[in-house]
Symmetry: C2
Subunit: 222 residues, 2 copies
């Protein structure tokens, strides 16, 4: 971390800032150490504090765990984890949709990582699912690679598709709408994605069988 | 450009490589010099050559202009332009959806730029619209800023929304489907975007009035 990336009030060695700019919700991958001594990977949306928040609060970053996940259990057990910013859509899909464990807490494709301490700041229940909101405080951070920012709609479609696919069996969401959205994401990946996006997207279908379900729905509507 | 970014066969000073990695379709902004001596900005999708293409062909990058646009006319007149990779979603929306002109060919928010020579390699007609496909050859390139790659679904939703919004009055596309997609993008920007994404998205509505049209459609269906 260069000094430039430290905020004005953070001059101590023990204070670390986030290795990337955060705004709105930044989709990350978090690795948490499990009771089997392996790091478990999961998707985690990082909420930057409200831009209209008071000055004292501008550095606060939160994330919410939904249900009794490994991430939630490991946050309680370990009080932290390693947040990272991956560039390979296959890594994102693996973290978001499968049980992925490793002896190392950082994916090779991560451009940056940050060890965080977490503390639960809020919790509740929504449709029978317990959610817990955590405040994340950076402890140590590293940047592995930087690049000019580029836009690939196929990459974006893979990310959005993991969200839609993971809601397919949640009663609160309209299955038809999710499936029609997935058809659109499939077209976008086909047209705009590179080889890694296509592979990541195919994996989502392997894991959920959404294509067959979409095709069944289409037949029903005739 | 560092030497590392040049391909193995490119040792001459007059040979420049792309300043970013390209795969599938990368959404860029192109500035072309108009007859009024101002640079005109437009969105341009850069198609990387097929990964399965022969080795000779791996560096070929193409883009297609649709209809009699300023970009197409300026490509014919000038034989090139300046391609750039912007980080501010408001710049992307301005380029994609409005007539934006400037004395400078590069947006402040561009992480990288590349001057290209273009030559038309294909053309045709689709639903009464003439399209022309151009091969782009880098002449000079620069990197202004690099950063770890991060994922913001709100940013992606703005980009996809420009595509949907620009098709609203194209007969080949289903207006209801485009409007329902725009409602989804609006929710995503609201939930995940930062201030710049919200502003860019509001601009799309100002320019197209899609929200009112979506709301009218919804009322009709009751």
């Amino acid at each position: 971390m260069s000094d430039e990336q430290l905020g004005p009030t953070e001059t101590s060695d023990t204070c670390t800032d986030w290795p990337v700019e955060l705004r709105g919700v930044t989709e990350s991958v978090v690795a948490t150490l499990g009771p089997n001594d392996l790091w478990n990977f999961a998707a985690l949306g990082l909420h930057a504090s409200d831009p209209d928040a008071s000055a004292d609060d501008t550095d606060s970053v939160t994330a919410t765990t939904w249900g009794n996940t490994r991430t939630r259990r490991n946050f309680h057990r370990q009080g932290g984890g390693v947040v990272q910013f991956v560039t390979d859509p296959r890594d994102f899909v693996a973290a978001a949709m499968t049980i992925t464990e490793s002896e190392s807490p950082v994916f090779d494709s991560a451009d940056a990582w940050v060890e965080v301490e977490v503390s639960m700041v809020d919790s509740g229940e929504d449709g029978g699912t317990r959610w817990e909101t955590w405040e994340l405080t950076p402890v140590e951070a590293g940047i592995t690679q930087t690049r000019p920012y580029t836009i690939n709609r196929g990459f974006g479609a893979v990310i959005d598709a993991t969200v839609a696919a993971s809601r397919l069996d949640v009663p609160a969401f309209d299955t038809d709408e999710l499936l029609s959205r997935l058809v659109y994401f499939a077209e976008t990946v086909e047209k705009c994605g590179g080889p890694k996006e296509r592979e990541a997207f195919a994996r989502i279908d392997e894991l959920t069988g959404w294509r067959e379900r979409a095709s069944e729905r289409r037949n029903e509507s005739f």
